[in-house]
Structure formats: structure tokens, C-alpha cells
Symmetry: D4
Subunit: 210 residues, 8 copies
């Protein structure tokens, strides 16, 4: 177990019983660390609550459960940004993960490229973060616009939101990989978990600096 | 010949002699209309100047020649926007074409997504156009940002500028097709000609409206 | 709110309750403007009718609802063209959108590339428009054929109709981006909404010109 | 050796010496049949003329040489159709091949989708063929339009002419595979040879029928 | 109506009522010609039988109905070849279509590339055809092997049978387009209809020749 | 100018004169900050040395020039890792960039997935970094292996090294986006510059922490 | 029937009745050889057990049934390696197939690239095999890491496990095709059957060597 | 150094001096083992001969040099199969590599899918091998046909020979991955080296078995 990262169970393609059994094994080995379950459907979450009761912190939007509470925030600030409802599941997955990994997390929702004034209004919040996670589907242009405003490390998360030539998130992924803005790195389509974990690593031990 | 559109010769893959011969034939048929030559290399342009002398209007950045001068601008205003040097050949191709098609054309260079304040500063110029042509390579995010600022029809032109996962302009093309901003339509990669012609059609007969 | 464009809610991936709540908020802010809901399933449309009653204009083929009636047509003429039943939902989405955006809209159905005489018979109708929206799936060849007949701005809409190497509309999209006919610009696959809005912007203020 | 098909040497990637040696071997084996060399550069053609002298029939546009004259046309009529200069090398390759395979061949050049009246004017010529080979690059829409006019078998040949989202002929290939017109079959990009040979097989023994 | 081709209704995406109504209209216009319905689900077929009774010729494997009997075979012989059960629906669609278009049709099932001796055993049957339709999924290699055995025109039909890197028929499609065997032309993935119609056109008027 | 990031000129596609002129303008505006030139060919580097003399720090492997010396390292440690000669240009571009951006940089060369013991031997060096940049072509597997060994933020850089199904770096890019190891984020193919800049931002202000 | 390879029925897309009938025919022809059924759903397996009773060896994880017991292992050792639960169905399909083809098979589960020490701990087991089958999804990096440890022939099997830019196994497939480790060959995505059969062929007659 | 595999230097992208220096270092470390250089241009080969003189075994078709002679064949028989001239460089790379890795190698040239009788004539030679390497471009169908004839392990090598929809070897690669024939595994496009090395591993220690 690397310091600060929780153990993670990817629930997609596993039965509730399998997930609960793995969680029990991991929890017993290190009861002091939260065990994180991602892509948890209702049935997974119900089984986990049944098995671990009050130990569970459950976030239905993020489709995540933490068996064992997240640590008190010790790291720097991670700010998770997205344009709205459609991208919220992925953005919330990133936020929940970063929190369980020890970061101090906040979310900015409802800023998009097509409404640049809301983005400008959020500029101070964005600049105050130690690491930004920027989530966007369709054209995936939001990280480029955010990157033009602040000098903070940015992790861009393309989502599969969109249709037609969005090709399940490929359009947003390519946009982000080709971002004209400096300082942008990218994770897999819909990978809020990976972005949240990487962001938490980046801000680990940052709090004292600010 | 449809009113307002010039005859066009696509010089790529043709010899200077072929281009000059076709231009001569078209010019003789309608000496009162300009004949437009696109993707003209130095050799094409030299051959055309040799053949038509002062009749030629030659733009080496746009790689275009007009045999016969562009008409006096009769239509509305087309504004061609791009972020800088790399996209200038395509942007200038669009501007030159729109001018030969009768539009009143101006260019805004050096506004990009990663420098949003220059974009905001250009807002009034952009809003004053009857049609915008927005040219961008790499992430292709510029039309989304411009589209968030104005209510004008926007023709987006992806360019092949970039490397790696830009895939020769595919990334920018997909970004533009998926633009979150309303009112954006798209042409082929590097197709400044097509954008300029479509923009000129859109503003044709607009001048009197303003 | 930019003059003439309505607020739009993309219902896909939202619950009827979410859609109705957003629509209520937008309608209250600007009761004089229609709020447009796209990709509305039966349940969305039922919820909207329940919430807004006679305020709703509902088009089940376009899968759209306008909360608040479309304005009286003030702009020029948009003509929406397609080959038949399969493309009608997308074509009707474009027509409904353009109407809600203030355009004077008519539709030509049942002209296709494989039946060129019907296309020629419709030529005068096509030429009379201020902007054409041409919708096609499979080979996506219709805009090229229409573009050979008229000098009007053309917005081409590829649809996901087809199978096999149609690749969900990719074949039609590429055809349209490479159209030999001048004046064609393109929107995302199945994006009737985007085409209708762009067309309405193009013809805005055109009526008096004709 | 199947009746009617010549032996063929694909010269690309072979030295003039290799091509000449293979041609000599094949010619000696069956001096009564022509040996066809495709994708022959100037050096290949010069070496073949040097080796076989008056036996060579050489077509620089098709980049082909026939060692030994084509047979007198015994089959039905193959008509090869394209829009102009750019597609001529591929169209001529098809025509030359069909001729060497025994077909009675003619070519229609300068009909395109964007100029539908020239296409209509050629209708009788097209309908008189026993098999059509239709060659097109860019949007590849020509076979769909031709297919709407006649009831003849059509072999569509996409070419690599175009740029950007033409993707080296992929756009035209997909258009043709998805053609709305019935009776269209397709060969590889730029494969004039394959189209010509298949057309000649189709019309073999047709002459007497007409 | 072009001589010999039936009117066709593509049932996918249409309701049984829509299909029946279109079929009724077409049948009334030309009661002497069969109307062909493709991609007909059970419900479509039931509705057609209800509406047209004994007029229907129904093939559940081909998922096709002919309203009105196929004509007596007047053309040459079309032989439809495939490797077995998985490709039978597409192969049978081709065979049924060719029959309704007037061809004399037979089918060879259970020859595949991986069992070359069965293929060799079928050689005389294959060589006796005026046109072969060869249907294959997965590696799509069958037309290449057949093409090495006979000098007959071959229409290759890739199917979507396979998984993984078969990419829904793309692998078979590319194989066929690149076939080393001469005389092979290709139709869209799973397009048995298109292959059958093209084959019937090829053999039309052939019978008397044999 | 955001604190710590230099101005950058991407030399590819620009003439030596253009690059020198832009560098002069930027240097004059902020003589205290280095100006970074990337993808600089020999001619670009010669022109810059001619223009700025001793002000230039020139790295021919990285194909980079810094006009004005890099700052004394103030940030944390960035370690750049790759497997050998082929990936060195990209790895060195990342290292040079991070240095100019103020990081304390070292490089580990010659560790690869196919020689896991060298990788294990380097483990302490890797774990001592505040941020790792891992560069790999072909299978792009190195970041996954490194990520299994340390808990440090990792920026993965795919390179275009490889052939065939490497598809110009696409294979490595996809590998990295799908890395099983947590904490990996990715930049564009061959984008050593972007990785170096993002890494420098991550370690900025880190030195005092260690 | 080639020595050692069983007859195989691919159940996907076939009814239980079809599968049972084919199995009966094959079993009757060669009752001494097992008949292998792959991709067998519950219904297929139930039908086979009903038809063949105790003759069936049924593996629900591999989704396979052998009608007739596997032979006593006569060949060398095949070791099947994967990282865990998600890849187990494909890995078990490979193991079951190799066993039915006569190999001596064992499985190593729970070694992954991101946990390199478990991989090193398994090194002796891996090196003792005559052929390794290495199964991995997502980044597909496991065969590269295994290939760096042993000198045994390796068959790599990409799986469709993953999401987003895993593109249904394409990412893992490309990784494996580009593996830096020597001695790796690759089969289709999820093709445990093909890998198991090829491995069994490789180790056939090996036992006596060890 | 794993028993039997030589050290390999991939010369592409390296200077002759770099290649010679690496070869010298590897040769000095293990003078008893050959050092293999792949993708060696004329200049690389000249520099190696200059440096190592009679120690070099040089194969210009394979573009390979062995510094130090290949071992006496100790393993089983590897037979390398291809259709002709275009695929010979890759086939010879495989053969040369297998030989340097200790295999007993022979080559069968000039068997192709489109000439199935030559393939049948070679059947005994193919069946006598312990491992087949089958090299093919264009449609890549040859391994499927060979796989239908013999029960030997087959390594399929797609080549980049072809044009248009061959997509640089992608078509052949996909064909081979989807081969209907059992026992086929695949390497990267043009990777004769990888196929030869894997084949040599497979037949290592086989000789005594035959
Ligand atoms: N939402 C997620 N997206 C991507 N990877 C994840 C996600 N959740 C967990 N993982 C990774 O999946 C692995 C756990 O997979 P498993 O052992 O199948 O539960 C760990 O290595 C995690 O880093
Ligand atoms: N730069 C350009 N990009 C795309 N199409 C063009 C361009 N220039 C000319 N064209 C089109 O190419 C056609 C002229 O081609 P050609 O007859 O080969 O000269 C016309 O239909 C033009 O619309
Ligand atoms: N199975 C099929 N595959 C491809 N095209 C078909 C098929 N069946 C009918 N068509 C074509 O689809 C068109 C009829 O479409 P629709 O008017 O929507 O019924 C005709 O032009 C036919 O050529
Ligand atoms: N022709 C080739 N194709 C693919 N990989 C090769 C080839 N030749 C050598 N290699 C691999 O490339 C690596 C050597 O690369 P390098 O260290 O850059 O010389 C070794 O791991 C070889 O396995
Ligand atoms: Mg966005
Ligand atoms: Mg941009
Ligand atoms: Mg159409
Ligand atoms: Mg065309
Ligand atoms: Mg097959
Ligand atoms: Mg690597
Ligand atoms: Mg793995
Ligand atoms: Mg082949």
C-alpha cells in the first residue's frame, strides 16, 4: 500500500457478492484505510451497506462507496470543474476519489466554453487551487479555456457525453491531448477515478505551502 | 455560372501549363468575371502572371491567384479569425476567396483560446460581422470560444496544423463538429476556399441591411 | 440570451423531472421567449405537457417541445430537404428548430440522389430558399447533388441511418465534408438542431430582401 | 491462364529490370496473349519499349504497357466515366485494362455530381453500355447519381484525389459502399485495373446480345 | 421502374403498418411486378401476410418477403457461396433478391477457406455460374480463394459475423477490397440485397448464351 | 506571463528568420525570463546563436534553444525516464523544458519493460522524485511498470517510435491512457515539451518540502 | 481431423438445438475425440448436458463444454497467466482449450504489471512452461513484462476489458503487437480459444523433452 | 542473455556509427554469440563490414547483418512461406532471424491464395515443418489457406505491401487476427524479425523429436 492511495475495487463486471468479499478482505487487512469501490451500481452499493453498515460513505452520483471514512484533508486543494449535469457523474467520481485520497476538494459546476463570462467569474476560485481537474464531453474545449486563465497543473478528463462524431468521447480526448494551453495532462475517457487519484498525489503535502 | 461565385481551378496536381490553359479558356468565356486559382505553387503563380500579366491578383500566403480583379465589395461583412502564423495560409485563403466572391472582408489574427483576453478584446469586431470564418488547428477550440461570445453565423475551418494525436487535422475537425456553441458549421480540413465561398454566399445582399 | 436564439435543453440523459425543472426556471426568467427541448422521449414530452399545458408546442417526429409558441416568422426562408422516412426525424428537428428561431420554414421530402428527376422537379423550390438544410444518411450524396443545382448557402446534416460501412453516420459525414459542390458546410451527425439554428441565423433579417 | 484475362505485372516496387524479366518470361510462355504491366513509371515503360519494341502498347496516362496488342473487341461495351483531369489516370487505367481484356471500351470524361446537366446529357451513352465503371474522388458521389439514371451494372472506383477528411480515398470508398443507388459494387481505392478487369469479365460474350 | 429490378422496401426502422402501406401503394401501381421487402422482422412479415395473403413469398432466413411471386428465371445463373450457418442470412438475402430480380439462382453452403478440399470439390459448380456472390465474415478470405479457381465475375459480401478485431465486418470488408484475386468487386457489410441485385443485373439476358 | 512558465516558440513550420524575430520581441519585453524555442532544426539554432550569441543555451538532442539561461532550480525534483536512444529526443525535450521552467531535473535512461531488473535497480531514484516523466514508444508499457513501483505523480509521454501497428504513436498513447497503474496522466504523442512544463508546475515550490 | 485438434463449435449466434445437433453429428463420427463447444451460454450448456449427460465436461467460467473427456496430457506444459477476475473468462477459455487439445495446463492468476513483485515471485513457474499464454485487458502491458523475464514462446491475448480509449480491446491488441519483448505473438481480442489451441500445438510432443 | 536468442540492434533511426559502436560493445561482451542487426540500410551494412570484416554475415534482401556467424542449426525446422517478390524482404528477415536463433530454416516462395494449386503442391513441405511463418500483404489471406492444410503452429506476418484500403498493412493484419483457420498467431506489420525469433523459440530442442 503506497502512502495515501486507498485500495480500489472496480465494480463493473463484478457481482455484488464478489465486490463485498474483496472489500471485506481488504478492509480486514488494513481497517485504518478506506477501501474505495468505483462504478458501483445500486445493487453493489446496497450489498456494501448491508455488509459494512455505517462504515460506508456512499455517493450515488459518483457511483462510489468508501468503506471506511475518507481521511481528514491533509493535502492541498483540488478543484474539480465541469459544465453541468451531463458531466457530473464523472466530475463527482473525481472529487470523491481525491477526497478519499486525502485532498481538500471543492467543485465548480456550470462553467463552460460557450458561456465564457461564467468561466471568467470563477477565475479566482480556479487560481486558488493546487491542482485542477477539468471534466468535459462533446468538444472537450473547457480545459483549453481554463488553461488560458491559470498557471495551475490541470488534469483533463474527457467524457463520453455527446453523440455522432463525438465517438464516445474520442473527440473530447483528442481535443484535450492537443490543447493549446500549457500544463494540461489527460486521462482516459470517463476516468474520474484516475484524475482524482493523480490530483490527490499532486497536492499531497501541499497544504503547508499555501 | 451562378451569380456571384467565380469559376475556380484547384491547381494541386495540375501542371502550370494545364492551369494556365484552363484559366485562359474560362477567362475568355467570361472576361468580366474573375477566375480563381487555389493551391497555386510558385510555378503556377509565375505561369499565370506570365500569361495574364496585370490581370492577375496574386496572394502568396493564400497560395491563390485571381485572374481578373475581385469585384467591389457588394455583400455584407465577412470576418476571418485565427490564432496566428501557422493557420494564416488557410485563413488568408478564406479571406481572399470571400473577397473574390464579392464580400467585404477583414481579418483578425492572433486571438486564441489560450489567451482569452485578446479574444474578449476583439469581441466588438467579431459581433459586427455578418458571418465569421474561424480557423484553428491543434485542439480546434477557437470556434467554441468565439461562439460563446457572438450570435453571428460561424463557419469553422479545422487546419492540419499540429502533430501526434492531431492526426492531420482530425482532432480539430471533431472538436468543431461537436462544438458546444450554437451556430457553428464546419468545412473540410484546410478548406479555406470552401469556407470563404460559403461565407460570401451567406453575406451576399447583406450590405444594405446593416 | 442572444437575440433570436432560444434557450435549449438537450433531454437525452436527463430525467423528465430534471427537464421540466430546467424548463420552468428558463421560462420564468424569460416568459416571452420559447424554451426549446430536444431529443425528448415520450416521457419527457408528457411531463412537459403536464407542467406547461397549452404553452407546449409538441412535435413527436422531431422529438421536440417548445415551451412557449415559436415567434411569427421574421427571417428569410429556410428549406429543409431529405429523401424520406428514415431521415425525417432529423430533418423535422432542423425544421422545428429553425421555426422556433424565427425562420420561415418549409420542407421538401422524398428527393434523393438515386431519383434525380424528382430533385430536378424541386429545383425552383430549392432555389427560392435563403438557406437550404439538406439531410441525408447512407452515402450522404444528396447535398452534392443539390449543390450542383442552386447557389444558395447549404447546411448538410449527415444522419446515422444506414448499416455496416455507414459506421453510424461517418460515411455520410465524410461525403459531405468532401463535397465537390461549393457552398456546403456541415454539422455533426444527426444534429438537426444545430443545422436549424445555424440556418435561422443565416436568414435572420432576410425577409425584407426578397 | 483463365480465358480472356491477361497476365498482369504490378510494377510498383519492382525495378525496370525485374519487370522486363518477368514480362519476357510470361510473353514467351504465351506469345499470343498480351502481358499487362500496371503502375509503370517512365523508367519501367522505357525498359519495356527497349526490350519489346513495337510489341508494346504504351499509355502514359494510365501508366500501363501492354506487351502484345490488345485483342479485337469481342465482348460487350464498357463505358468508363469520371469528372475530369484529377481522376483521369485511374479512369484510363480501367479503360486500358478492359480493352486488353477484350472489351469494347469508351470513356466519358467531365461529368460530375456538381454539374448534373452534363450528366443528364450523357444519359443515353451511359444507358447504352453493358457495364459502367464510374471513377470519383473527394465525395465519391458520382456513382450514386449515375446509378439513379441507368439500370446497368456499375463498378465504382474511389480515388485518392482530395485532401483532409478525404483520408486518401476513404471518404469516397465509404460513400460508394453506402450508395443509395442499386447495382453498385466497389473496388479498392485507385484500383482502375481491378475495375477494368471485372467489367471485362461482365461483358465477355455480350456483344452478340445487343 | 428499371426493367428487371423490383421496387424495394427496407423494413428496418419502419413499423409493420408503414411497410404494409408502402407495399400496398407500390403493388397497386404495378401489380405485375413483385415488391420486395428486406430486413423484415417477424412482425413485418406477419403484417404483410395478413395484408396480401397468398401473394406473399416469405423467406424467414433471408428476412425477406416478396409481394407477388418472383418471375420465372430468364437470366443467367447466379451462384451464392458461403461457409455456413452464421453467414446464411446474408447469403440467403442475396439469393432471394437475385431470384426476385429474375436470375436463375443456386446456393453452395459449407465451403470455407479453412477446408480447401470442399472448395475444390465445388469447383465445377462455381465455374458453371455466370456470376458468383461470395459471402464471408471474420477474415473474409473466401472470395480470394474462390477467385483463384474460376474466371467468373465475383461479388464479395463481407458480413458482420465475428468478434474483437473483426470490428463488425470491417476486417472482412478490407480483405475483400484488397483481394489478390482478379475480378472481385465488393458491396457493403451484410448487404446481401445489393449483391443479389447487382448479380441479377450482370446475368440478365445471359441464359441464351450458355 | 504566468509565474515560472517561459514564453515558447514552436519552430516547426516557421523560417529561421521568423523564429529569431519572435524571440527578439519576446526577449526584449522580458529580458529577465528565458524564451524557449522547441522543434528547432539546425538552421533555426544557427540563426538564434547568430542573433543572441552567448545568451543561447542550445540542446541539439532536445532540438531546443533557450534564449537566456534557465533559472536556478527552485522547485522540486523532476525525473525523466526512458528506455534508450530512440526515445531520447523526446525525453530530453521534457528534461530541458522542465529545467527552463525552474525544476531540478535528472534523467534515467535505459530502463525498459523488457528488462525489468534495470527498472527495479532504479527504483530508489524514481521514488525520490516529486514528479516522474516517463517516455516510451512502441508498446508504451513503461509507465505502467513504473507506476507499479512508486507513488509519485507520473506524466506519460507516448512517442512515435515504432512501425506498422504502432500507427505513429497511437498504440503507445492508448496503452498509457489505459494504464492499470494509478496516478498516470498522459500528454500528446512526442510532446516532451508539454510533459516537462506540466511536471515543472507540479513540483513548483516543492523543494522546501523534501 | 488433424491429429490432436478437436472439432469445435462456436455457440454464439446458434440456438441450443443447433449446437446439440452439430455436436451429436461430430461425436458420432469420431466418438473417441472430444467435441469442444465455445461461447456456450447457460442454455447451450444445459441442452448439451441433457443430450450427452456424463459425457460432458462443463466449465461455466470458460463458457465451454467438452463432449467427451479431454485426453490425458501428452504434450508439454502450457501456463496461462492473467491479472485477475475480469480476464478470467478468457484465460480459462484458453486453459480449457489447451487441455482438450492434449496439453498439460496450469494457470497463474493475479499477476499484473502494476504489481511487479507478484510477477517476479511467479518467475520460476513461468520459466518452467513450454509455452505461455498471457491474457490482459486495459493497457495490455502484461505480456511485455512477462516477456522481459523468460525465454519461452508467449501467446498474448488482448481482452475487451476496459472502457473509453480501451476501444473494446483495441488498445491492448496494439500494445501486444508492438511489444518490446521478443517472442510474443498475438491472437484476436478475447480469443482464448485460439490461443489455447495454438499453445497446445506448440507443446505437442514436448513432454518427453523436459 | 536468454539461451538461444541473439542480442539485436534495430538500425532504423540510428547512425552507422551508433550501430557499429553498439555492435562492438555487445560482441566484446559475448564474442561467442552472434549480434543481429535489423533494418540495416546500405550505409549501416558497409560500416559493419568495415568494422567487423569477415565476421559479418550480410543479407541485403533481409536488410540484416549478423556479426558472428549463425550457430549450426540445433532446433527443429522453420519454413517461411510467401507469395512472391513484394513480400520477400519481410520473409527473408524472418528466415535470417530464425537461422541466427538456431533454427533449421527453409523458404517457400511463390505460393499465394489466388493460385491455390501451387499451394496444394507445396503441402508436404509445409506439413514437414515444426513451425510455419506465413508472410502476406494486401488481403493477408494466405495464412488462412495454409492453416486449412496443415496442423503445424503458424505465425502470420502481415506486410505493408498494397495500396488504398490496405492502409499500410492494417487490412492484412485484421485478416490474420480473424483467421478462420486454427493455430494462427500474429505479429506486427512487417515484423519478420519478431516472427523469426518466436518461430525459433518454438522449434528449439525440436530436432531430436522428428
Ligand atoms: N473508475 C475506474 N476507472 C479506471 N480504473 C479504475 C477505476 N476504479 C478502479 N480502477 C483500477 O482498477 C483496478 C482494480 O481493478 P479490480 O482488481 O478489477 O477491482 C485498480 O488498479 C484501480 O487502479
Ligand atoms: N482549395 C480548394 N479546396 C477544395 N476544393 C476546391 C479548392 N479549390 C477548388 N476547389 C473545387 O475544386 C473544383 C475544381 O476542381 P478542378 O476542376 O480539378 O480544377 C471546383 O468544384 C471547386 O469547387
Ligand atoms: N437490405 C438492404 N440493404 C441495403 N439497401 C437496401 C436494402 N433493402 C433496400 N435497400 C435500398 O433502400 C432503398 C429503400 O429504402 P426505403 O425507401 O427507406 O425503403 C432502396 O433504394 C433500396 O435500394
Ligand atoms: N525488425 C525489428 N522489428 C521489431 N523489433 C525489433 C526489430 N529489430 C529489433 N527489434 C527489437 O528492438 C529492440 C532493440 O532496440 P534498440 O535497443 O533500439 O536497438 C530489441 O528489443 C529487439 O527485440
Ligand atoms: Mg466542453
Ligand atoms: Mg485553437
Ligand atoms: Mg442520400
Ligand atoms: Mg465525385
Ligand atoms: Mg471466410
Ligand atoms: Mg516501452
Ligand atoms: Mg495488464
Ligand atoms: Mg496474400
Amino acid at each position: 500500500l503506497r502512502t495515501g492511495d486507498p485500495e480500489v475495487i472496480y465494480a463493473a463486471g463484478k457481482t455484488p457478492e464478489q465486490v463485498t468479499a474483496i472489500a471485506a478482505r481488504l478492509h480486514e487487512a488494513h481497517p485504518e484505510h478506506p477501501v474505495l469501490v468505483s462504478r458501483a451500481e445500486d445493487a453493489h452499493r446496497a450489498a456494501l451497506r448491508e455488509a459494512f453498515g455505517g462504515l460506508c460513505v456512499d455517493d450515488p452520483i459518483a457511483r462510489m462507496v468508501s468503506v471506511g471514512p475518507p481521511p481528514r484533508p491533509q493535502g492541498g486543494r483540488v478543484t474539480v470543474v465541469c459544465a453541468g449535469t451531463s458531466d457530473l457523474p464523472v466530475a463527482t467520481e473525481a472529487a470523491f476519489t481525491a477526497r478519499v485520497c486525502g485532498a481538500d476538494v471543492n467543485q465548480v459546476t456550470d462553467v463552460g466554453v460557450a458561456g465564457i463570462h461564467r468561466l471568467l467569474a470563477a477565475r479566482d476560485t480556479l487560481a486558488a487551487a493546487d491542482c485542477l481537474v477539468v471534466v468535459a464531453g462533446m468538444d472537450g474545449a473547457l480545459p483549453s479555456a481554463v488553461g488560458g486563465l491559470v498557471g495551475v497543473p490541470i488534469i483533463a478528463v474527457p467524457t463520453s457525453v455527446g453523440y455522432g462524431a463525438a465517438f464516445g468521447g474520442l473527440a473530447a480526448l483528442l481535443t484535450m491531448l492537443n490543447s493549446c494551453a500549457p500544463g494540461v495532462t489527460v486521462v482516459n475517457i470517463d476516468n474520474g477515478f484516475g484524475a482524482g487519484l493523480a490530483a490527490a498525489r499532486i497536492v499531497r503535502g501541499r497544504k503547508e505551502n499555501r
